[in-house]
Amino acid sequence: MGAGVRSSVMASGVTGFPMVDSIASAGRRVLPNQWDLIAFAAIMAVLTAIAQSYHGISAPLPRPTEDVISLGYGSLPYYALRTALRMFAALFFSLVFTFTYATLAAKSRRWEMVLIPILDILQSVPILGFLSFTVTFFLGLFPGNTLGAELAAIFAIFTSQAWNMAFSFYQSLRTVPPDLEEVARGFRFSGWQKFWQLEAPFAMPGLIWNTMMSMSGGWFFVVASEAITVGDTTITLPGVGSYIAKANNEGNWSAIGAAILTMAIVILLYDQLLFRPIVAWADKFRVELSAGQETSTSWVLNILQRTHWVRMAFQPLFAALRAFSLLPIRLPRLAPASASEDTQPSRVLDAVWILAVLAVAIYAGWLTVQFIASEVSLAEVMHVFVLTFYTLVRVFVLIMLASLVWVPISIWVGLRPRLAEGLQPIAQFLAAFPVNLLFGATVSVILYFNLNPNIWLSFLIIFGTQWYIVFNVIGGAAAFPNDLKEAAANFRIKGWRWWVKVMLPGVAPYYLTGAITASGGSWNASIVAEYVKWKDHSVIAQGVGSYIAEATDKGDFPKIVLGVAMMSLFVTLFNRLFWRQLYAYAERRLRL
């Protein structure tokens, strides 16, 4: 879910037992370096540019009428379909992005220097902060047309999916087994053939797993992006998200219930009809040749593969795809073949390249600072800094609280295989469920009891993200080796010692995977969770999330840029200095 080490996500045993083979970027580099700064500046500048272009294009949509959305139950299936279609459109663009961006980064050393840090920062930028920019941008592209609004929503989902997919693909391309690489060269595959016969299939399991996890996370964003107000522009796209927004405005409990039920069905269908079949199918691309591995199963896939006529029907299609992938297309080389490890890259060209990149970055950084400074004073920057610190505390404390509650319970569940088998998919389902559907309703409770929003709103932040901790820890405990359990019992290791010396270290890598994902998602959630509307009330908690949300409502772009930049900065540093350090340690020491 968005900001943070989301990328990192989580190749995980699909049947339920996460193997967590890679936190994508954990091993690479820990402290931010000059490339990160450059990337940071560039991204913020692009956002600024988009925001600025808005002022030139101000073309208001026709005033949204209230009857765009009907709260009748009959229209819910249609809304669900529209919401799902948005998801798939975004998925399509994410795949296109992945195949181009990641391939370029993997094949060209110079592009890699620029593209990978950019990707790294991008995944720390809170997606919902993006929303206001992209909405204005796309509305500007298609003035007065809902296509602009649709594209904005799709783009928001895209930004929640694309980064970790690209990361996964890039990493796979960089780790193609050398012997297969040699076979490809020995058979004189062209670049095109090699890509489709070797590189893409090899990257498939990781890419599919990340795609599916991205899709899960995407429901949150599709719901958030369907009904949005930026300044005096209000967008209401037909969909479950708009439906719930209207239900919240009216305080209509039965409509809220219907929307939640609809969403649950949609996610269930997605899981059973798409996620599991595809992940099970992707198993055949795994390179490890041992047979004893846990494999995923899917009843849908079994049916498809066992029906003769379905296979017959698809035969010509597959044959055609195969022929297409084998076309002897010779793409121009992006980089000298890695064949000779000795070719010295030209230092001079490198220097020119780096200088050019630096110049662009400095200009971009200057642009951003200028834009923010046009309206915002230094005191305001300090104020946002403090607000971001509040949100940081909120995220941190809540992750710790959720860990305290869920880790023991999850371990208890994970050690009971039958229970784990049943509960883990449920946790996975809950993680995918867009809890922002529930925010309005929860806030009504806060209003009713007159609770302090600074404290009680905070819990919304981990509403949806705590499940990542749950299902990862269940998976870790379930995968805990039996002989170690027996050894602990045999040496009568009990009580706190059993927790501290045996179980907690055993599940640590899994826990951290879950916690990192949860932390990233929580930052994003803060934008919707610190500023919630119910009927005609707004409940606000002090923090950078509500700062961004309020500025979005007012259409105050310099403030949005400032808030997003500050939050990205915090997320990046928090990840690099805290989570990745812990994760690297756990990988080194505690991986069983």
Binding site: D179, L289, A291, E341
Partner: protein, 436 residues
Amino acid sequence: MLDPATATLLSVENVNQTYATGSGESRKLVLDNVSMTLKTGEIVALLGRSGSGKSTLLRIIAGLSRPTSGTVTISGQPVEGPAEGVAMVFQSFALFPWLNVLDNVEIGPRANGVPLDETRQRALKAIDIIGLDGFESAYPKELSGGMRQRVGFARALVMQPKILVMDEPFSALDVLTAETLRTDLLDIWQEGRIPIKSILMVTHNIEEAVLMSDRILVLSSNPGRIASEIVNTIPHPRDRLDPPFRALVDSIYALMTKRAETAQVAPREAAGASLALSLPDVSTNSLAGMLEEIAAPPYNGKADLPHLADSLGFEIDDLFPLGETLQILKLADFEEADIKLTPLGRRFVDMDVDQRKKMMGDQVLANVPLASHIKRVLDERPSHRAPASRFREELEDYMSEDYADRTLRTLINLGRYGELFAYDEAAQSFSYENPE
């Protein structure tokens, strides 16, 4: 098969190959002026230990790497880039796991534009010859190691190469499977059922080389040179227990141990306390185990290497590193094709654990310059700590990064066992501290 008009199929002339070392400037020589030929109708084995550059040579011949200097020609055509008349069989099989057997076999011709029906015909024929009928739709994951390597062979045959090159094709298989595959391949070859004109194989298994090849080229290590050429005229079918077979195996062992000895002595003579001595990947337990094995009956302190390898299920890449380390530590010595315990080695066997640790520590300190160097540095420093990176860099002046790493790792292992120093993996530093 032995055509009287044996034409030279492949010729390798003065090939050198170097890699940049850790320090960047100096370059490590992997192949040193290697020349060889391959004639029509023969099987040639490249026999050498790890580090002899035999796999590198094979890849240069297949056009997968370029030599730093020198030329390779196949039927008079210079090899530049992946060679058309050469197909390769890999140690790791290197099958595409997402393709079934038939697709794996067909992928080569299809990628090279052979029409679909001709590809299918050729593939089915190769599958038939290699004994894979019935497995066409199986995925590599469903196959045993032996069957996977058969797919590897079929995939190479379907390309109709002139030369089949094999990179330790049997070493990832268990003993029985490997033997079946070897004899099957020899049968196919001798019956002339495949259009291949000659076979070049890399191996570190002496018996395999003697069993299969008509000519054996023995490569020395560091840098790789062709040290000797042995023509093998034992008639087929060859029997491993046949006296001429045994004699040839023994003589090759003797040849290889002799060179191991000179290779070890040279650097120490070169410089007083040279760090150029690289240590192989060995554990203290296997060292002690080897000493005990040699000391016990039937060897009683002196073991015939082929025998010893056989009884332990070892190949030369398992056996030689242990033997050489024992030689460096002056606990054992090579003598022709035998390995013999020194008096020190005999005493070691009779000791208890603490005494063994003490002796191992003393021998490491006395005979491995790096060990005494580390100890001296630790003594000099008031903190009695030193980072590992420092020693790694010093080693990299003499050897490649991989070797430096391995040497350091083995030394840490020996040093810990001999209680010469402590090593903190997290901090990557040497010290004298041990947990109280």
